[in-house]
Amino acid sequence: MAATTNTLNPDADRAAPSAAQSLPDWLNRIHPAVWLLALFLLFVPAFTNDFIQLQVFGWAFVLGMIALSLMFLAGYGGMVSLVQMTVAGCAGYMYAIFGHSAFMEVSLGWPWWATIPIALIIAVLFGTISGALAVRTEGIYTIMITLAIASAFFYFTRQNYTIFNGFSGFNAVRPPPLFGVDWKQATPFYYLSLFFATLSFLAVLYVSRSSFGLALQGVRDNARRMEALGFNVTAHRIAAYSFAALIAAVAGILLTWLNGQISPGTAGIGPVIDILIIAVVGGLRHPIGPFIGALIYVVLRTFALDALVAVGIAGERFQLLIGLGFLLIVLFSPDGVLGLWSRWRARLRKRRSEL
């Protein structure tokens, strides 16, 4: 997490121009706290049970990836897209429809090496088309139009039985037994989702300083000036949707494996809003934010019920506790946990300089 300040500061990257040539120098720039976090995440399965690995960390990684795709669009592109959960759902549906499920009347039963690429391509196309519809709007209208697309997808999948199998969706959707591993088991899935979460996190971090990422931030800050510098602002925004859709699509397939099923409710209005909450609570300023938000969300969702029962309140009020938790975070820090963190560091630094 301490790397956040390192990469948030553009000068830090410039300070070591030869970083790309010499590996040790590049490694030196990684903060010790990042090594500790990496070590911790690698050894989580050694001291946790299946439930924690799957229901807490597995979910946090997958939801974090979907929220990351929202953070990429909102944080770097200034476009709040509510369609990211739907893109994930689309990928999950495509995997189930082209591959195997309990409902083989619809599922085509194609092998995994065909199903996964097709699912990703269709989901990215869907995300790109949604983006193309949304990019000509700004602010609240972007939110409205992407929410409209998400709602349309939800109702369409619920009512269409010939392709999407309506209300019940597809059950028994499994990951392929690659390398002889059952990826649905807790520890394999933990590492699988950790791998893709880390990959997408690093990809967003890297791309944010690429030509494309810099230009996207330019479009966010001043679209008119970017046009006057020779950039096709509309094309740039749509491309950002494609990139974000790829991350959401990968997460969508993981989500389907984790759930073992995909149904309209997976990408219903509730989950769509949850992704926004996760991203905002974590913070939109750095790609680590969505993962922090996802972890908080999953922990609250998983343990709120038990906590309430423990103090003698009816368990079905657990949503109330979740809501209160988010309200408190946003109340004290409108820019999420990341904002809380950077303010705390600033105060610490100030106190140190006063001493």
């Binding site: 553009p10 000068d11 410039r14 121009p17 790309a20 890297y206 791309v207 300083r209 690429s210 030509s211 494309f212 990422g213 810099l214 230009a215 931030q217 330019g218 800050d221 001043n222 008119r224 000036r225 970017m226 046009e227 006057a228 510098l229 020779g230 950039f231 096709n232 602002v233 740039h236 491309a239």
Partner: protein
């Protein structure tokens, strides 16, 4: 200075910029009224006029920020009237803004790098720029050309006003500009900074023509070889700086009594 004939033959016969009957309406307001003007390649022209005369609207019509309501705009012979702004920029047209439009959260070098990237290929590249990339090198040179090397890594939001104006010019010089529109580049500058600006403008390669909107006659007449006088959205007079200065109508309208 090369003769007009020499420069014409060097750049072909087409004018760098040609406006035919260009008008721009904002509701009932006629901001540009049937403007016809042509600027040769390499020519440096000042556009004078009081506030509301239509100078910035003229620039916005040429760059496509606000396309004209009617009329034709040609850029080196090509009809660009309905091109989107970025297509005009990629053809070698550049502009600066009266109120700096910069990227405050990016460093000076990143701002210039973006401008270089905007008029070259690889705009969608997912790779990070390296210090020894050709494009990054030209960005570094450009920062030096506008005397900003000392603050190259600083965030633009932290620059002084004068430095931001210089950066504004650097963005317009990225790539291979053929014609630049400067919108009041000297506005708000200290005398020393004005001298620096005049130096930067005078040291531009001869083939780059420009139009400069400038209220400061000292600056305008030192960097321009022809002058267009605008009034109420129309071109009132065109001529050499000396002709315009001595024109009685212009004096009454703009220069007041004996300022020039």
């Amino acid at each position: 200075m090369a003769s007009v004939a020499e420069r014409l033959s060097a750049a072909g016969t087409a004018n760098a910029l040609e406006l035919r009957g260009v008008s721009r309406l904002f509701g009932a307001l006629v901001a540009l009224d049937d403007v016809t003007m042509s600027v040769r390649p390499g020519e440096r022209r000042a556009v004078l006029g009081s506030n509301g005369a239509g100078k910035t609207t003229l620039f916005n019509a040429v760059t496509g920020d606000f396309p004209p309501s009617s009329g034709v705009i040609r850029f080196f012979g090509e009809d660009i009237t309905w091109f989107p702004p970025h297509e005009r920029i990629r053809r070698g047209l550049r502009r600066t803004y009266q109120i700096s439009l910069l990227f405050g959260d990016l460093s000076v070098l990143d701002n210039v790098y973006l401008a270089c990237r905007g008029v070259s290929r690889g705009r969608f590249s997912l790779l990070r720029p390296r210090r020894n990339d050709a494009l990054m090198q030209s960005a570094i040179e450009l920062v030096e050309a506008v005397h900003l090397s000392a603050v190259r890594e600083r965030l633009v939001a932290q620059l002084s006003y004068g430095e931001q104006r210089q950066l504004e010019i650097a963005l317009a010089l990225a790539g291979a500009p053929r014609f630049i529109l400067f919108d009041e580049p000297a506005a708000g500058l200290a005398p020393g900074e004005r001298a620096e600006l005049v130096e930067i403008l005078s040291s531009l390669p001869r083939h780059i023509g420009y139009i400069i909107i400038e209220h400061d006659m000292d600056v305008a007449l030192r960097v321009a070889e022809s002058v267009s006088m605008m009034h109420n959205g129309r071109i009132l007079k065109e001529g050499t700086p000396a002709e315009i200065e001595s024109d009685r109508e212009v004096q009454e309208l703009y220069l007041g009594g004996g300022h020039g």
